[in-house]
Every structure is written in structure tokens, then in C-alpha cells.
């Protein structure tokens, strides 16, 4: 069937609400408004205000309440409107959700799912456009997902809901309108592994989430130049599928990491370091990175575009590492 990323997430939410009475959705404007990005549109009418629960603008309290409800046996899905707003709930995510299992010596697990929108590309300026998922991927105790495809938009949520531990799902805002074909029986997907989205032999382009489309675009451009790029979609940012990263590097001997986060202290730095630590002798060229420019994301369209990883910049980096061929 023809669908969109937004509709795929909505279908996953709807299925979860139907299948498990412990599931409820909570967040700012998820109900009567239909969701800031219209992901939950229609669910309020179908499931009512108890299960599609509009919250006050109290990120810390409603995320913490989600954690408490999870402790109390529910399966809450908490929506934080954008990743920038998640900073108002960092205490609850980092000090409680991520630590309670450990601090309690294994007595209390926290089966909460937190969804939020991440990333730039919509001229929303610096307080609605950042890519902070790499920060969260720093935190032991959390599982961090970044669906980049319709299948993952549809299938990661049900798997996350089965997880006994806190899962954060980062939905890139530029993907909501992505349209395509999805199997009628599409459902839960596994979340333990990265996925090769395009097989190739000359260079590995390693990315996730919102930059998968531009990375595939770069790979298509490179193909016209007879450079056969492999595109690896990390899918899960914590725990990282290190084996998949090392496997693609072992195959191509060259890697470019593409990450919409800033380069300094980023997830791309972590991926690059893992390659250096464990696949150094497989490399024929230094690992390169294509990240966002180190500025708060600006409003003006031409400035914003200049700040973000583009297919052109990815292709340049790929040519550079391939050019390093001995």
C-alpha cells in the first residue's frame, strides 16, 4: 500500500493502542490538536482523552509521569514535541529512566517509549532544529532508535514497546512526508542491527535517520562515476551495531560517516573511533565525516542548507577517500 512515514507511525500507534490496554500516548497537543506534526491525528477521537492524553507544557513532569506509570505496570508512549524540548526533561530521562534499573539492583525496570522529532531542514531556526540524539546515545541504560524508512517507522515502535527498558525514538522532521510503498502486513521489525540500504564495494557511507535519503542520493551520483558505495543505516544508535560497521569497512576498506549532529563530540566521532580501534588495518584511507556546520541551525534557507550534510558534500568526501586508493 502507498503510505507515508507519518502514517506508518500512526498505524503503529493505533495497533499498539488496540492490542495492549496498558499502552497510552501522552504529550503536548497529541490529542485534540492531532499532534504538532499530525502523527496522532484521529487517535484522540478513536481512543479518547484517557489514552490519548494531552499534557500541560511540563516536559519534566509528563516524561517523569511516564516513567512512573511504566514503573506502575503501564506501557506509556510519551511524545516530546521536538528534541530541543527534551532538554526540559533531561533530569527524568538521564537521572531516572536510565538509572532506576541499575540503582535498584535490577528490581525496577522502566518500559517507557519516548518519541520525539529531531533534525533540521524546515527553516525552524535554532530552537526547533537540532540533532541531539547523539547526546542520548551517550547514556547507558537507554536504547536509541532512529527510523529512516517506512518499514522502520512502522515497525520500530511495536518492538520498542516490548522492550523492558526505556527506548527513545528519534523521528526526523523532514521524513514525515516521505511517501512510498509499504507491505500491507508490515509490522514489528527487529531493532538490534544496522541495515545495508545499498550494497557496494568501494566505500562505506555510514549514516542513520534523516540523512539516509541524502546519503543514498550521493551513492547514486557516485555510481554514475563508477564508484560503488555501500550505504549502512545504523538504525539503532545505542547500542551500536559495531559488528555491522566493522563488516562494511572490512568489505570496502573506506568509510565516510554522515551525521546531522555537530562533528565535535558526536555520534560520528564514536563510529569513527570504533573503526579506528577495531578495523584500523582494514582501512585504505582515513575515515572522513560529513556533519552539520558547527553553528546553531540558522533560519534563512540558504544558510540552513549550507549548514547541513548534503549529497554533494557526501560525494566529495567519498571521492576523497576513494582517491586515496594506493
Amino acid at each position: 500500500m502507498k503510505t507515508t512515514y507519518r502514517e506508518a507511525i500512526r498505524a503503529a500507534l493505533r495497533e499498539a493502542l488496540i492490542n495492549d490496554e496498558r499502552v497510552f500516548l501522552m504529550g503536548e497537543d497529541v490529542g485534540a490538536y492531532g499532534g504538532c506534526f499530525a502523527v496522532s491525528l484521529g487517535l484522540f477521537e478513536e481512543f479518547g482523552p484517557e489514552r490519548i492524553r494531552d499534557t500541560p507544557l511540563s516536559e519534566s513532569a509528563f516524561v517523569g509521569a511516564g516513567i512512573g506509570a511504566a514503573l506502575g505496570g503501564m506501557r506509556p508512549i510519551v511524545e516530546i514535541m521536538t528534541v530541543n524540548f527534551s532538554l526540559l526533561a533531561l533530569d527524568q530521562i538521564v537521572n531516572n529512566a536510565a538509572t532506576l534499573l541499575h540503582m535498584s539492583g535490577g528490581q525496577f525496570n522502566v518500559p517507557i517509549v519516548i518519541r520525539t522529532t529531531t533534525g533540521a531542514g524546515r527553516q525552524l531556526g535554532a530552537q526547533h532544529s537540532h540533532s541531539l540524539e547523539g547526546w542520548f546515545a551517550h547514556i547507558p541504560g537507554l536504547r536509541i532508535l532512529a527510523p529512516a524508512t517506512l518499514e522502520d517507522a512502522r515497525g520500530m515502535l511495536p518492538t520498542a514497546l516490548q522492550d523492558p527498558d526505556p527506548v527513545l525514538i528519534f523521528e526526523h522532521g523532514s521524513l514525515y512526508n516521505a511517501a512510498g510503498e509499504l507491505d500491507d502486513d508490515a509490522g514489528a521489525v527487529e531493532i538490534g542491527h544496522a541495515a545495508v540500504r545499498r550494497a557496494g564495494t568501494d566505500v562505506s557511507l555510514i549514516t542513520y535517520g534523516g540523512t539516509l535519503p541524502v546519503t543514498l542520493e550521493a551513492a547514486a551520483t557516485l555510481a554514475e562515476e563508477d564508484i560503488d558505495a555501500e550505504v549502512l543505516d545504523l538504525r539503532t544508535l545505542r547500542p551500536l551495531d559495531e559488528a555491522a560497521v566493522l563488516a562494511t569497512v572490512a568489505k570496502t576498506h573506506r568509510a565516510v560517516v554522515v551525521d546531522e549532529g555537530w562533528r565535535s563530540g558526536s555520534l560520528s566521532a564514536e563510529v569513527s573511533a570504533r573503526i579506528t580501534e577495531s578495523a584500523f588495518y582494514d582501512l585504505d584511507a582515513p575515515v572522513l565525516r560529513v556533519c552539520s556546520a558547527e553553528v546553531p541551525v540558522p533560519y534563512a534557507k540558504q544558510l540552513e542548507l549550507e549548514a547541513l550534510p548534503s549529497a554533494a558534500r557526501i560525494a566529495i568526501a567519498a571521492r576523497q577517500v576513494v582517491g586515496a586508493r594506493g
Binding site: 497510552f24 484517557e50 499534557t55 500541560p56 511540563s58 519534566s60 513532569a61 509528563f62 516524561v63 517523569g64 509521569a65 511516564g66 516513567i67 512512573g68 506509570a69 511504566a70 514503573l71 506502575g72 505496570g73 503501564m74 506509556p76 533530569d91 527524568q92 537521572n95 531516572n96 532506576l100 534499573l101 541499575h102 540503582m103 535498584s104 539492583g105 535490577g106 528490581q107 525496577f108 525496570n109 547507558p140 541504560g141 536504547r143 523492558p164 527498558d165 545505542r238 547500542p239 551500536l240 559495531e242
Partner: protein, 339 residues
């Protein structure tokens, strides 16, 4: 010879009515906390336990009074000054001390320490060392109860310092808005670490803050355990009756330093002395003795039994096993994960 007296007590001259027995039980509970905390201070001085240590001496009436109003199915969320709450909720003293020793036998297998005691059996959800960080959890536990149609109370303890945090206001608003069964217990001991309430909050009437969220709230003499118990019962009954969250401001005082590192430059000795005259154990003991509900033999037996309990707890902790270092990565995820 006075002889050994059982917990309920049958001998002696004092009043043996159920009401008198219940009051003696409150005294015993406060004494258990006092003696546990005294042991903690000794053991800290001996370097047997480490980290930050915050003792509850002086504030025992608050936990004793509130806990006696709770049922086993209720939940408790507390702060980093929570040894007493854990003990009176039913966590064995030995498991509490073993936790501070960092032993496998500790209630959190040595992962939490003094500030992070947890116990699933008694629905004791910490042990939260972020001021006001426990309030949203309590709201969520209560939300789960409401959504599941269960009639349970979640008691949430926090200090008056928490009332300056955003999470306090967000949580009270949410609990009131959604009519959730939370008993907010504000332990007002007048100081957020060393900062006096009047130096940090423009409105020092804490019950009034709660009332502004349409939450039934009242201030209680937190040194009088009978007052605390009565207020907690009224509030818990209201919550169970479906009237939503309630708020108690429990006016109390910490006799000891904030932690073991506090030189107490911010308050004078005369103030501490004034408050110690209202020691909650002394107040209740005096009342019971003067009303013929406690005799000397009762008190001696109580002390002997509590001392024995704490001695056994120390022995248990000492005899415990350090968690092997190869177990370090357990309990980060429910199933082993390679990061």
C-alpha cells in the same frame, strides 16, 4: 526483674488498650529510625560506609506518622534522606545497612548506596537524590493506578527546598489536573542544605503554594507524630475516596548536619537547642508516660529490642559479600547489551 517484653507487650502497669499500644508502636518506630541513624553515623566515622550520608535524626515523626497511614499496596517515593522511610516501610535494617556497605545482600546489591534505597517488595521507589526528581515519578505511579482502576495511594516525600524546583510545580499541577491519588509530603526542615527557606523562596507558606493548585493542603507540627499520623490518615482517606491529591507541609527540624561534610555555619546552636527541646521521641515518650501509657519497663524493653535489631543489622551487613567486580555491568539493561 522486668523480663523480656514482646512487641505487643502484656505485662507492666501501663495502659494496655489498643490505642495505647498503637502509640507505643509509633514510639518504637521512631526509636528504630533514631538508632539506625546513630549506627550509620558511627559506621561512617569508622569508614565502614562511604559516599554522602544524610541522617534523619529529629525528623522521625514525619516518616513514622505517614507510614502508619499507608497500606501494603500503597507506594512510597522518597529523597536521599530516606533510611528511615525505607525502614518504616518494611525494608529490613540489615538490607539497608548492607546496601551502605556495598554488599550483595544490600537492598540494591550495592548499586544504590545511602541515597538510593529501593525495594520492590514494599513498593519503595527510592531514594531519589535529585531534589524534586521524585515528584513526577509519584505522579506517574498514581496515574498507573488510576488508569488501572486500583485504589492505592502513592506517598511522595520531599524537602521544602523542592518547592523552588520546576518539577514541584509541574507535578502538583499535573496531579491536581488529573485528580491523581498522590499524598505529597513536604518535609519542611527549614534548610535546603544550608539555605534557609526565607532566603530562597518568596512565598514561604508551602501549603499555600499547594493550595494554589487546588490541592487540599495543610501544615502540620512535624515533631508531633500523633499529629502527623492523624493528618496523614485524613489525607489518605480523602485520596482513597477519590478526591485527588493531598498535600501536607510537615514542619520539622534536622538535628544533625545536612551531611557528614557540613560544618553548619548557616544556623546557630541556640536554634538547634530550641528545636531539640521538641525532639519527637521525647515529646511522645513524655506524653505516654504522663498519661500512663508507657512505663519504665516498657521503655527499657523497647530500647533493648531496638538495640538488638540494629546490632543484628550491623552483623548482617558486616557478614555480607562484596559484589564481585565481574558483575559490574549487570542491571544496565534487563538483558545483556553490548554497548
Amino acid at each position: 526483674m522486668a523480663g523480656y517484653r514482646s512487641k505487643t507487650g502484656t505485662a507492666g502497669a501501663a495502659d494496655r488498650s489498643p490505642e495505647a499500644g498503637r502509640r507505643r508502636e509509633l514510639l518504637r518506630e521512631m526509636l528504630r529510625v533514631r538508632r539506625l541513624e546513630e549506627r550509620c553515623v558511627e559506621l561512617y566515622s569508622e569508614a565502614k560506609i562511604r559516599g554522602f550520608l544524610h541522617v534523619y535524626i529529629g525528623e522521625e515523626a514525619v516518616a513514622a506518622g505517614v507510614m502508619s497511614a499507608l497500606a501494603p499496596e500503597d507506594a512510597v517515593v522518597a529523597t536521599y534522606r530516606e533510611h528511615g522511610h525505607a525502614l518504616l516501610r518494611g525494608v529490613p535494617a540489615g538490607a539497608i545497612l548492607a546496601e551502605m556497605y556495598g554488599k550483595v545482600e544490600g537492598c540494591c546489591r550495592g548499586r544504590g548506596g545511602s541515597m538510593h534505597l529501593f525495594d520492590a517488595d514494599t513498593r519503595f521507589y527510592g531514594g531519589n537524590a535529585i531534589v524534586a526528581g521524585g515528584l513526577p515519578l509519584a505522579v506517574g505511579l498514581a496515574l498507573a493506578d488510576k488508569l488501572s482502576g486500583r485504589s492505592r495511594v502513592t506517598a511522595c516525600f520531599f524537602g521544602e527546598g523542592a518547592a523552588a524546583e520546576g518539577e514541584f510545580h509541574e507535578s502538583l499541577n499535573l496531579a491536581a489536573l488529573w485528580n491523581l491519588p498522590v499524598l505529597f509530603c513536604c518535609e519542611n526542615n527549614l534548610y535546603a542544605m544550608g539555605t534557609a527557606l526565607a532566603r530562597s523562596q518568596s512565598q514561604t507558606d508551602l501549603a499555600l503554594k499547594a493550595a494554589s493548585y487546588e490541592i487540599p493542603s495543610w501544615a502540620v507540627d512535624g515533631m508531633d507524630v500523633l499529629e502527623v499520623e492523624g493528618a496523614a490518615r485524613r489525607a489518605a482517606d480523602g485520596i482513597r475516596g477519590g478526591s485527588g491529591p493531598h498535600f501536607l507541609e510537615l514542619r520539622t527540624y534536622r538535628f544533625r548536619a545536612h551531611s557528614m561534610f557540613d560544618p553548619e555555619r548557616y544556623r546557630d546552636k541556640a536554634e538547634v537547642a530550641r528545636w531539640t527541646e521538641r525532639d519527637p521521641l521525647l515529646l511522645l515518650r513524655t506524653l505516654l508516660e504522663s498519661s500512663g501509657q508507657l512505663d519504665a519497663a516498657d521503655w527499657e524493653a523497647m530500647e533493648r529490642e531496638v538495640d538488638a535489631e540494629m546490632a543484628e543489622a550491623v552483623r548482617f551487613a558486616e557478614a555480607g559479600t562484596p559484589e564481585p567486580a565481574d558483575q559490574l555491568l549487570r542491571f544496565v539493561y534487563s538483558t545483556p547489551v553490548q554497548p
